[in-house]
């Protein structure tokens, strides 16, 4: 059973060494997609033992995840994990996240910041942005999940091959959820802990996600 972790990274020299080193203990291979960083992200990721793919121009987290997932499929991964480069997730939670895949309980696992574990979510995110995102997911995609925008997920390779991430930006989270439900994939949520070092997605960023999703529908 080959487990590959895909980490999209943009200007993460500060965290990437620590993140890759921590993740490596729990997976067979770490693929870092350097989304045209202007700092030493790529070199540091390589030093930490990751396979590094470089985007020649910055295209966003969705595009980097798409490249990384393709590379993981090419590397014959059985399980593909998506993980953030900014050190907000706990690598030691990887075994808990992939357990439902190993036991056959699920084909896709989504980490949730809103189940039993405590994350230090900023107040505005907890009471405005996430409820709004949940509402958008329900409205656009008829999806009911506790965490609408989690970047920590694990997919069986057959599922990852079916998911076509079209959005280059942050709208990929909603897009992945939609495709999981559209393809009738067995999905489960697992509690995860998130440590916020910065605010992350702002309200404006949330609105951009909605706009991206609309444009995506129109250009299809």
């Amino acid at each position: 059973m080959k487990i590959v972790c895909v980490i999209p990274a943009f200007n993460e020299a500060k965290n990437i060494l620590q993140v890759v080193s921590a993740v490596r203990s729990y997976v067979d291979e770490v693929i870092v997609v350097d989304d045209a960083s202007r700092d030493a992200t790529a070199n540091l990721a390589e030093q930490a033992g990751a396979t590094v793919l470089r985007h020649v121009i910055n295209r966003g987290q969705g595009a980097a995840l798409r490249t990384g997932t393709q590379a993981a499929l090419k590397a014959n991964a059985d399980i593909i994990i998506h993980f953030d480069a900014d050190n907000q997730f706990q690598a030691n939670e990887i075994p808990e996240v992939i357990r439902p895949l190993l036991t056959g309980q699920a084909e896709a696992v989504l980490g949730s910041r809103f189940l039993t574990k405590k994350s230090n979510l900023p107040l505005t995110k907890r009471i405005i942005i996430h409820p709004l995102a949940r509402f958008v997911n329900r409205l656009f995609f008829k999806i009911r999940l506790s965490d609408p925008q989690s970047g920590f997920r694990a997919l069986k390779s057959e599922v990852a091959a079916k998911i076509k991430i079209e959005n280059d930006g942050m709208a990929h989270c909603s897009e992945i959820l939609y495709q999981l439900f559209k393809n009738k994939v067995k999905v489960t949520e697992v509690p995860i802990t998130v440590t916020y070092h910065n605010y992350g997605q702002s309200f404006g960023g949330g609105l951009k996600i909605i706009l991206d999703l609309l444009i995506q529908k129109l250009i299809k």
């Binding site: 997609v33 793919l53 470089r54 985007h55 020649v56 121009i57 295209r59 595009a63 798409r66 490249t67 393709q70 590379a71 090419k74 079209e166 280059d168 444009i215 995506q216 129109l218 250009i219």
Partner: protein, 106 residues
Amino acid sequence: MIQQILALIVIIFFLIRLFSQKKKKEINSNEFLLWLVFWLLAAAAVIFIKQIDQLVRLLGFSGTAINILVYLVVLALIYQVFRLRLAIAKMEKNISELNQQIALKK
């Protein structure tokens, strides 16, 4: 009358520019045709402004022909911006695809 002459001078200026761009092959035939029709219609609207005024009244609109023309131009521009947005989104998608192919080849 002076306003009409001024408007026609502006339109002729844009038409000359359009033909010069076509000559230098800076725009393709479809784009050339689209703008040619646009400026010729604009010139026709300026020349036949009185007839359009009568038509506008006949159709029951309270505004003058020039007002209606401005509204139509604004609508056309909004539509053009919308089309451009979609075209850019498609181009960005292609750039991402290319970016991915390069990253995966190395």
